[in-house]
Symmetry: D2
Subunit: 347 residues, 4 copies
């Protein structure tokens, strides 16, 4: 922790900060500059944020910043080897590039089965589909709920695809965990801490989407909630952030992928559908995801996007999805070479 005092801070103010730091259990070092005094605090006390807040409130203090990362279990420093999350015989974060695909919402048996069969045939490994839908408007379709979950189960039985579906409330954790292989936390719930705590013990891997205005650090802190509450199987997902640009639905922060790869051992995937909101941008973004070293992608696919209840504009048609999968093949080959070198180097 580094505390920078104001210019002309008094000796009393400086001494007071020393005392406070010692109360919180830190060892204190001071650097007397020409302009101001800077204080370094060594050690790790409980409630680091509270200590920082406290110091910021103290007289004579200009800034107080923490140096160590605020997360622990999810950091590469804590666990240097990449985590592979196992789902239904497949590994996310392992030696395969994983494609998750399916409709935004589960709408009907026919829509879901047709999509699931196409996803499986084209090489997708998991099926996505929302049964509980977070909608900005109370007047729009809110999802088929339990009926949707049952349809997802049916699709799984018929195609063998594992199921990823969204969980919106800590009240529904048990119900969703019964039907899903992976529990998806949507962008709007990334900092729904009650939900994160409840998912710590749900017994299912969690696909954690980055909040639309969340920093990388906050994403990792939310992952830390899951791990600290008992669930080490977390998959991170970059899905675009909110910026001033409106040509795309969100701004795809693709650099977050290699950045996260350096900071955490958890697998990281890209959602090119939400990141752009435009169907024609999905295949180029998917190629970029492979090239940059993501662990997979999650893509919206619909048999008839025009009749989709939600996200039609960004959903691929079944044949476009198949074409994209073919186009990705040589890129995935390069990905595999690179990944196998990394895995060999890690041994």
């Amino acid at each position: 922790m580094i505390i920078s005092m104001r210019r002309h801070a008094s000796r009393e103010e400086i001494e007071h900060v020393f005392e406070r730091l010692r109360e919180f259990g830190y060892k204190v070092h001071s650097i007397e500059g020409e302009e101001r005094v800077v204080i370094g605090a060594v050690g790790v006390g409980p409630y680091v944020e509270s200590c920082l807040e406290s110091l910021r409130a103290a007289s004579g203090v200009e800034t107080a910043v923490r140096i160590s990362a605020p997360y622990k279990f999810v950091s590469r420093e804590f666990k240097p080897a990449k985590t592979a999350v196992r789902v239904n015989g497949t590994e996310i974060g392992g030696s395969e590039f994983i494609v998750i695909a399916g409709p935004c919402s589960v709408e009907s048996e026919q829509q879901l089965m047709q999509t699931a069969v196409a996803v499986a045939k084209a090489g997708g490994k998991l099926l996505r589909g929302g049964a509980f839908k977070p909608r900005t408007s109370p007047y729009d379709f809110q999802g088929l709920e339990l009926d949707g979950l049952k349809l997802l189960q049916k699709a799984k039985r018929e195609t063998g695809l594992a199921i990823v579906t969204e969980i919106m409330s800590d009240r529904d954790v048990e119900l969703v965990a019964e039907h899903a292989d992976v529990m998806q936390v949507g962008a709007r719930n990334m900092q729904n801490f009650s939900l994160l705590k409840a998912l710590g013990t749900c017994g299912r891997p969690v696909l954690l989407k980055r909040g639309m205005s969340s920093t990388i650090k906050e994403l990792l802190m939310s992952a830390e909630y899951l791990v600290a509450h008992g669930n080490p199987n977390v998959i991170l997902c970059e899905r675009g952030i909110r910026t001033f640009e409106t040509e795309t639905r969100n701004t795809c922060d693709i650099a977050a992928i290699p950045l996260l790869n350096g900071l955490t051992h958890l697998p990281v995937i890209l959602d090119p559908s939400h990141a752009t909101g435009k169907r024609r941008l999905v295949p180029p973004l998917a190629r970029a995801a492979v090239a940059i070293g993501a662990d997979g992608i999650i893509v919206e696919v619909h048999p008839n996007p025009e009749k989709a209840i939600s996200d039609g504009a960004q959903s691929l048609k079944l044949q476009d999805f198949a074409a994209m999968m073919t186009e990705l093949e040589p890129f995935i080959e390069l990905w595999k070479h690179s990944r196998s070198r990394e895995l060999a180097a890690a041994v």
Copy 2:
């Protein structure tokens, strides 16, 4: 709804959009420009967003935008007279400028009582204080929970101040509603739709904070959730949005206040503490809030900000709060003149 076709869209594509619009129950008008065809759709069908999404996914369509506001019950057009939310004998949105104050977190009986007494004495009308705390880190103080709620009740008994406290999960609605006069939805939960639905029938007014990256429209849609699910007593709160600027904790979007006043009949207050994150900016922002015509403010106050477990840097000391209240007086006088003219004009 206005659908703008691409240049060179084919006759079939245009006809197809006509058909889709009619299926959704709209009357269709087309304008044949020199460059492109623009289609106007009149009427209000169900699932407007779905219809828009559908059209955006149709071949030949460039953009599809809705013209009418997506919210209804909360709009000024629906209810031109301003709503005054009644809490414990006080009205927010009425003829008084309301000050809500208190600590970020309830920490102890002594801390809370000392603050409550000071708030009441200086002219505050409601006491704020968190018993359930949303914290970015799983390792920081998470609130006193039920014990905190009980202390708030005690403070209410001793000072007569009504209680505002945060609700984080739909599971806790009943418990919090038993102890609080106003249910606060924090910025991170503004789009926690499960929680909003549950609060529709909680029987308590809701203080809805704007999400840190939520648009004005989204804030109004979340308020619409509350009203549509049965709760007309909603107080909106601007608390700063997330931008590139880091000198302040958030960027206070003060223009949101008169803007909201034009769009909705619901009362709007400002939280200058979270909006800036810096104690010394709170009094000037509070003056601005009065001058711009907010219905009130919500301010963090602490007997000893340096020992605060959270938000110390932005909390006012008790004497600073009292000084601010005194300084606000002549501004509040001007506010009252202006408000009484408005109320008279509305009759």
Copy 3:
């Protein structure tokens, strides 16, 4: 300067940083934490940014941040007393709240004279009006240029109002300085360093608008360019920043005003017209500017906003401007009391 080494940085890496810092002329202090080593560097060498960049590029370094402010002449620490910029017998930053008003563009003699007379009559002290116009599109009106400057001169002769007009290129500095009392640097040119350097010796005060995505620190650095190149008469202007919110043209960062007041001695004004882009929001924002302690406002006014070539939607009609000025009076009274107390305290 504080350099935080990576966990497990080697002894060589740490020693290397020591050496580099000494080469740059700093004294070095190191703090050996449990997790990592943090190095403090004391002293002020030339090219601080280069030194930081260099350290960030060094092996084993995680972060390198400067502690001292990057600006000097504009800081309150350098000059504690507020600067009053004298223009034509008026002071901006002194004991009067200054209103600058006028059309976005100078369009015609009639338009300008009519506006100027109304501005003067309502109590405005300076006349704004663009002769060189920065327009996003090459196909839109680019300003009357020299003819516009001459009209501004004429308006000054007839009304006594001093002239504020925009300068867009270092090539035009002499020409504009001949006709204007205050040289306005627009938001898009805030970091046009060639222009800033040329304005250092122009002999006229500069009204420096904050760039639409510039931080407070960058605004102060651009002011520092002006002062360091010879021009101490700088007026800062908050005019809204670009964010994700689109209901208003920009997001008015009103907290920047008290924040800047703490960091710099230069006067700070608000432009409520550009900050919001909506005429009806201008008067409430103007009230807030007075209440929060700005040194003045700059407002767009037009005799017939609907026929304005630019910014019609945000321009006040002449009678609305007069009404706003009347409405501001009691707020300005409060402002004066507060300002005279500050000036007395500063003696």
Copy 4:
């Protein structure tokens, strides 16, 4: 142009808008909805923005939006075939993926020659290097100016690499055009319209960097300035935008590349160095740029990043640049296949 009237707009207000539109030369169509009247205006008058502004200022108008794109010459609709900008025997936007590399600033003969030789050897086609440097602080290195330009010329003679260098003022256009093959407009000058106009007739291709808070539309409008003023040889460059995320220097908006490819015929390249600010993120971003279909990249390279006067943290060492070029090879092979298919399809 679509004008949406307010609910309850009067007949007079609607008629007035009709009149105004006709004055501006538009044909008018109105759609009478249940809630409000929407007016479509067909035709293309001069000063479209002025017309829109005018309508927005009219009584009873809620919104007025343009439907047609505000740019013309740079649009794909105007010129469907991709533009290849020819520089010194190389084509940017043609059948080769182009790598531009070099130091941020020209610092010395040795530094520049060493870098140029390494860039040429590794397969770079153009040499970048700044002689005029836009620096946030007036106290930092401002570039070698003319001496820098001469060194760039020397490097060109010795290696055959064409030269890309930044131009900061319309006053220096002739001087820089004498020494450079491509004139670079930096992010801070993207809307320096005086400079853009001057570059219209400079006789050199222009590399136009996206402003750090500029939209895609604004980038295209700035390109339109160049083309409308006589210069059809424009290369667009995505270099990251400013957002709330601070882990990277900017947020790389990679989706801008395929998006621009659909909207304009101009070539588009990526600057992964400024987009991220972190050396280790440059190679993965470069791979993504190839995979997504950019026309090239511009990368910062330095023989000794630690001793770089600017941008050391994001500059690649010479050997790292060579390694990256090798690593890119198979991706560039895939790029070429795809590009040759596109070129064949366009015939």
